[in-house]
Subunit: 242 residues, 6 copies
């Protein structure tokens, strides 16, 4: 089977590992995007940066006759199928409609996803055995813990279709970036450009923050007026290539 996603350019990945979701949100806002940050989805591992390419799993409300323990023996069952599809550098994105009345994935499947080299997991529903998943060595994001099996609330229905997650449209191949604030989704076509501008913005903000920490007012500094901008350009050169 051919992969439906292409890997991220390593240079872009490096840039994205360095910039915050807040900076990316500003860059997206400048380009007319106001709704690319997932609402209600929190990091289990704020210490680990997420950068990866989206694979998706879609849930709809469960139906009592369809959603019983027997479905798990079928490897084509979409939840199980998705777990065995997601690969290196990819992130499994679960559209659970923001429902908080059942888990969406648990520790055993999350362990398998980690083993497959995935970059992380993002769900707008809860995790089961959330503490177990927190201990896995990769970034994961969810809407809190819930012990119920996903079949209590969900019918897994599709893999690798366009979904909504945390109120955000996610296409297969989009770039997800996550940090301690949460997760933002870059449309693939502009990911490189946004990454570069965000990296540049962060250099400038480091300069600004230093000035503020040294006692400067924000007036003329944040944002910079022409005098500060000149000062910045000198500082920038002194700093070297970052």
């Amino acid at each position: 089977m051919t992969r439906p996603t292409s890997p991220l350019d390593p240079e872009i990945r490096i840039l994205l590992e360095r910039v915050s979701t807040a900076t990316l949100a500003t860059q997206l806002f400048k380009r007319g995007f106001r709704t690319r940050f997932l609402t209600g989805v929190l990091p289990l591992r704020p210490d680990k940066k997420l950068v990866g390419v989206a694979r998706t799993l879609r849930y709809v409300p469960m139906r009592e006759d369809l959603d019983h323990m027997g479905v798990f023996v079928n490897p084509e069952m979409p939840q199980r199928k998705a777990v065995e599809l997601v690969g290196p550098g990819e992130v499994l994105v679960i559209d659970a409609r923001g429902d908080r009345t059942a888990g969406t994935i648990g520790n055993i499947l999350a362990t398998r996803i980690l083993q497959r080299g995935a970059a992380g997991i993002v769900s707008d529903g809860p995790f089961r055995d959330m503490e177990g998943i927190r201990q896995l060595d990769f970034p994961t994001y969810c809407a809190g813990p819930h012990a119920n099996t996903n079949l209590c609330a969900h019918h897994p229905v599709d893999v690798d279709v366009t979904v909504g997650c945390g109120g955000v449209l996610v296409e297969v191949g989009d770039v997800l970036v996550g940090d301690s604030d949460g997760v933002i989704v870059l449309p693939r076509a502009i990911a490189a450009e946004v990454a570069r501008d965000a990296a540049e913005q962060e250099v400038a903000e480091r300069f600004v923050l230093e000035k503020i920490q040294a006692g400067s007012s924000i007036v003329g500094v944040y944002p910079m007026n022409e005098a500060t901008a000149e000062e910045y350009r000198a500082w920038r050169i002194k700093q070297g290539a970052r």
Copy 2:
């Protein structure tokens, strides 16, 4: 193109036009289904009974660059495509994630759907120009009015996939029945059986209601004990086949 749905058996349609969603909910409950009635979706025309077969339209959250007025010129745009697919005896079911911040369909498209012979429209989001749609001569259900175009909140993404609507799983071909309480979804495989048992239940309830109206207590009557059941069987015969 072949239809993805088969028409409803006319005898079943007649039974379903006669029974209430409350009765159908009881029959489904007896079979283990607790979650087949749409929550938050109200009738514009409580005077008109809805009976039809599901076709579906799926929305995900909008993205600013994808969802502009230009998309409507493309007849493959899923919202427009769905309108020209739904046919006689069918119901267009719109999965709008229960979002209430934009319309999901308006008067011109609803008129077209009526013209195509459809049985009705069911959306878990609002309608635009809701009063215009109310005046159309068929049953329609939504979550209230909203003037915003669907692109303010939604990206139409798929037709004829399994969706959630009002918290209920809907498969293409499922049977929707609506009355003044709202809409219930019968899994296609059991629709005929449920319709027959519901019709039978309603005859019995007419008998019970007559007794209550005549001053009887509910004890032994609702539900019936053996004595009342016997009385009922006699009444049933006297009534004839209805």
Copy 3:
């Protein structure tokens, strides 16, 4: 069995049939009560005034093994028991925790309650066959329609205990008054006094409204300053005993 409630003094009943819930809310507010009006509970019959004494029915969340169709054959099942307890001048108040995912009572039981001479029904959950209940000749209040049987979401557990309904504490014997705005609950001990002061307030407001309709400003009129109060006292005498 002795009734747990005493009937309302007929003179007080007459006063309460005349005053609005808005006026009663003001009188309660003056006495330090800010939270006696039910939120989210709407009239099916805004044309009919509700005045009655509370009997209560308490629901808790359902449990799958306890809440099946078989429970209805037991006349001690609290929902059925409550229906056969409520009597003339009384109102059945259903505490459904404001849950909107199932009906709380249906047309047959509501008909029986009407037959028993009850003053009305108030539920903070939905009704089944709401249109059927609307056609009954007494005031009823609920949170909209829902076709599911109450067992889908509720386990009826108690009758005639103190409950919450629409966010308001209701004791057995409290006085419920309802109009087109909704339902307010008067603690029994102060019902008579509140009724009298509310009736008096409404006479004054009729005077004020006449003045406003004649073009007066609200300044010095609503509320009245001394000059207007004098004018009012003269008007009051001219009007006679109301």
Copy 4:
């Protein structure tokens, strides 16, 4: 005192009285506005068109010692002051933070506002004595009925400041248009231009609707392709000046 708003150009008023909020929403969407329609605010009089200029009243949460019946004797109390400020062609817009636990205005004050020649009232909270207000001969919009006095939940704090209402920024002088769907807010600077383009759009939509009603598909018609546009231009001329 000079008015903080200038009256609407009569020609623009006439255009706005003719067009729907759905059409205005489309025109605003084309100009980059996605969030100008009030969510959760419904018409009491869907038969009456609202067109008027915004005056505002801002509520914050109540504080027990500040918000007692005594405050109403002060004519500078913002709620009472606002009522005596709003004038012909103006709409009183109440920012109640969408709170649904108390009324925001009642029948006597609404009557006074009507007497002062105002164009309507828009609140994102409930009305007290909502049926009384419904009977007044002008368009009013709210979030349902509630009998509690506003002081139970609100502290009136300001008049004629920029507010949020139903999730929409409203500046004094903005143009509000309401119909059976609800209320939309036009920034004053673009109201005339939006009104003209909306009127033009509605002529075209009448043409489209006629074609759909006559059995046409939406393909090439909604939106129009070049052939239909030509046909439309001929129809437009035949129709005369509208």
Copy 5:
């Protein structure tokens, strides 16, 4: 006074201390229970396992005249009474209707409950001085912190009646099990059987997790096919009696 609950069989208690709520949820799901895990109730001490028998305390909405500081001097006031009733191995379960606008219990009472030998506290409302309670040496669960006294929102009304907590029916004597995901409620009649099957399931899951961690796919492993099951039975024997 005789205890309304019987203590848990020590062997069952040991099993339950070992298994996760996720595993118990699966066992309950297999028996037809989809709704036994509390929603919105989080652990203050994820490091401490909760196993205990339910005692209950029911709150309804406060009424201004009933709920003042004076009520606390009465030892029969239900909140205070409940604190002095709960005993060794028991859990106090507070039904606060999921309201988040006031605390439901504070540090002094929680300390007394710990002193009485109770197994824990579970509330679907907030705690006051939550950090103080977190430091007590037993597992406690709530909906976050809130400084307001319970009388701001609640009227304590009953002890040891069937309640709802976090959307789940809880009977006196039911078995509560809590871990880092939250709390699940086992109907007393099936607690022993569920505990045994859950313990067995966890042994199998340990085997599965080891395989996944060693690089195995989930296909044929989770759930096990016949070959894996055979391998498991061998592993199981080698492990000894667990």
Copy 6:
């Protein structure tokens, strides 16, 4: 410019640094205040006590044409202006209508506020780069993290007006006290008196807690009966003036 607030009496500040928000809530409750604790606003630094005087910043919903990156160059833009106004001993209180779809302030501005000697920041919306703000050496409170710039959801409109925050009225000059439970607002006029009574209450509660920890029942102890009160007075003297 003269300050709109007067500094807190140092003696009162010392008392407030010692007492918990739970104790203050009790003292306010005794004076008739039930609604002074912010709901949904959580501490980033539960280890740091907040005591300060309110300065305010008001947001309304954004409008696409008003809220673009260009606004930040204007030092009169209210968000930026507020940052340069707040001074030693003051707390910036942000009214974001409880909206959780965008940040309300970020790390650079928060750093500047700390540099200006402010006592803390309280917002009923999220923070951007929340982890960065958590590391600043002062108490801050918000509704979680969100990477979006405030302009995605908000239009900053006013400084130093009366606002609502977390459902609580806040006047400029009010006293905010925060601990691990959250934030409570003391009306300025009664802050000193409440502080003194709260400090006294905490001494008594320390005595009670010691008794409970030593095995005492709560009966007669919490609250104290006359015998315990006498014992307390003796203990109080032995403890000295504290």
